[in-house]
Amino acid sequence: MTSTHTPPALDRSDERLRQDDGFGGALRSFWRSVRAGDVGVLPVVVGLLVICTIFQSLNPIFLSSANLVNLTLDSCAVGIISLGIVCVLLVGEIDLSVGSVSGLSGAIVGVLSVRHGWNWMLAVVLACAVALLIGLIYGIALTRFGMPSFVASLSGLLAFLGLQLAILGDQGSVNLPFDSTLVQFAQVAFVPEWLSYLLAALAGVGLFASGYERRQRRKKANLSAQSLNYLVLRSVALVAGLAAFAWYLNQERGVGWMVVLFVGLVLVLNYGFTRTKWGLSLRAVGGNEEATRRSGINVRRIYLTAFAVCSFLACVGGILAAARLASANLSSGTGDVNLNAIAAAVIGGTSLFGGRGSAFSALLGTLVIAAIASGLTLLNLDSSYRFIITGLVLAVAVAIDSVARKSRASHGRA
């Protein structure tokens, strides 16, 4: 043991604590937490690497710039829906109707703006209001009538699909004009090359600034803090990674604005989940609802907001999906949209059992789902294989979640 001249930090003074300093210490403590079942994003990152390796070896187009541009654009709609799913999973509930709500929202925007000549922004606002109302209905069904969200949203799945069909009417589809703002945004709006690198640099600066501010505050309070080297290294790695990715996409069309929107939403929700009382309450309700109630938190309101945010994001995702296809039709939001969104959240590491999860799980999980879909399309395999393989991946993810949960329980990490 090295002799220390300074007194130990307030939170490092207990002799039973392992002193994991420096890079080796960080690695050791990471490995220990993985073995204890605190796997975090490790399985999904490994999974993504495996998937990319397999598809790249089968078809070299898979990792080409052109395909990656499409892949990133295709992930956005489902990814945003999946963000909402993370929200309800955190409180230990589920929303099975996000597909229908997304389809309904696409239909509302399409019909109002094309057939009735509404301003598109007004149509979007109305669709979002309807979605918020739907979320509140689920919340009220759960908190006032004690309807399990599983059942309430299953009835919603059917009911809102019906509403979507009714709104679309006999023709069954609405084509959004190519020059409309929404379609332009989803199909041809790309970040200028210089701006993409600037955004990457800004992300790194932001990460460093927040880490540095946190470090200063903790040092001032005599708490242990991350080393400056680690903070710099982390930010440089992020900038390098993002810039390389942007450069690769810029070889083709580039980084879509829709992708920026998706990542922005991920960051906003990540802040909400980790740094606000609301996010803490979400996790608390998912962990122990009764304890949360007794600590004076309005549990009912937490449920309501979780469902409202979920439906709202489903609506945003649905509108973007319609814009990307330049059409709202009978099949929008049906099929595997629901399951993909839920699978993405779970594959990314959000627990189905409530209380654990992060906004980044939606991002990573969606990339996995989109990579599988894209790879199988390139191999000319039809959707039957896609369903089978996505189903298997979901099963593996749930198994990992369950095993990790048991391991956490036996290692006392719950």
């Binding site: 307030l10 939170d11 207990d14 039973r16 604590l17 946190r214 505050r217 903790r218 001032k220 309070a221 005599n222 708490l223 740094r275 606000t276 009382k277 609301w278 803490l280 309450s281 996790r283 608390a284 998912g286 962990g287 122990n288 009764e290 304890a291 949360t292 007794r294 600590s295 004076g296 938190i297 209380g355 654990r356 956490r408 329980a409 290692h411 006392g412 990490r413 719950a414």
Partner: protein, 276 residues
């Protein structure tokens, strides 16, 4: 026997924080509490003992604001008060630690301590909360290695400590502990008993519900016995014998406990004379 049945028990001093007079509570046809009297002074540990169904938990819930008494008066710090809901109790300065502790196992110690009263709701002040958590735990001489691990990885005694620490965050003047040692091992029980003594020395009034005579006699100043929803004696913890307590709890000196002891005399290490 030192049992005092009248309401003027132990002549409430000027430091009496909380006193209950003639409190009744019934659930349908069942009188759960009848004419209950209870006094708690600052810097005093009052143990509440009684058999199953004696009304201990009901009384705790009345103090916590979970149940409202049908009649009777509750006086807190000299003025008559009504405890209509849990938040009213907390605002008065009566904190309750329930038997199940009510902690979120997936959250870490800091988040549990501050759940419901986070600093800076829209931009959680994690640093200040962590510092305050350490200060609080150090005041209680709690031996918790780190406050950034989920509560699930703490032992039963440590969890009890966290639950008690959380109730102290609101600066209460009376703290009610429901079976604080029920689920704990020997060493952890000792830790919690130490903690109760520290609370007492900080000048808090402590009401402790327990089944365990040893624990009660170890830390309590006064022992209040309930039986079938009524006061059934009040004892000085230093002078009372286990036999007297058992008699008051069960309602007779000839009861299942004494009969069993008489039968199994030799196996008993108690300092009582063995019956042949």
């Amino acid at each position: 026997m030192t049992a005092v049945a009248s309401g003027a028990a132990a002549a409430p001093s000027t430091t009496t924080l909380l006193s209950l007079r003639g409190v009744n509570k019934s659930f349908g046809a069942v009188n759960a509490l009848t004419d209950i009297e209870l006094d708690v002074s600052a810097g005093e540990v009052v143990a509440l003992v009684g058999d199953n169904g004696a009304g201990k938990s009901t009384l705790v819930k009345v103090l916590a604001g979970v149940h409202q008494p049908d009649s009777g008066t509750v006086t807190f710090a000299g003025s008559t008060v009504a405890i209509n809901d849990p938040s009213a109790a907390i605002q008065l300065g009566i904190a309750t630690v329930f038997q199940d502790l009510a902690l979120c196992e997936n959250l870490d110690v800091v988040d549990n301590l501050f759940l419901g009263r986070e600093l800076n709701p829209w931009r959680l002040d994690e640093t200040a909360m962590e510092v305050q958590a350490w200060k609080l735990l150090q005041q209680l001489s709690a031996r918790i290695p780190t406050v950034r691990i989920p509560v699930a990885s703490l032992s039963g005694g440590q969890r009890q400590t966290v639950a008690i620490a959380r109730s102290l965050l609101g600066e209460p003047r009376v703290i009610v502990l429901d079976e604080p040692t029920a689920a704990l091992g020997v060493a952890q029980t000792a830790e919690v008993l130490d903690l109760i003594e520290r609370l007492k020395h900080r000048g808090l009034g402590v009401v402790m519900v327990s089944h365990n005579m040893e624990d009660v006699r170890a830390v309590a100043d006064r022992i209040v016995v309930l039986r079938l929803g009524r006061n059934n004696g009040e004892f000085d913890a230093r002078t009372v014998s286990t036999e007297q307590l058992v008699a008051a709890i069960t309602g007779a000196s000839d009861n299942a406990v004494t009969r069993r002891r008489d039968r199994a005399g030799t196996e008993d290490n108690d300092d009582e004379a063995e019956a042949p």
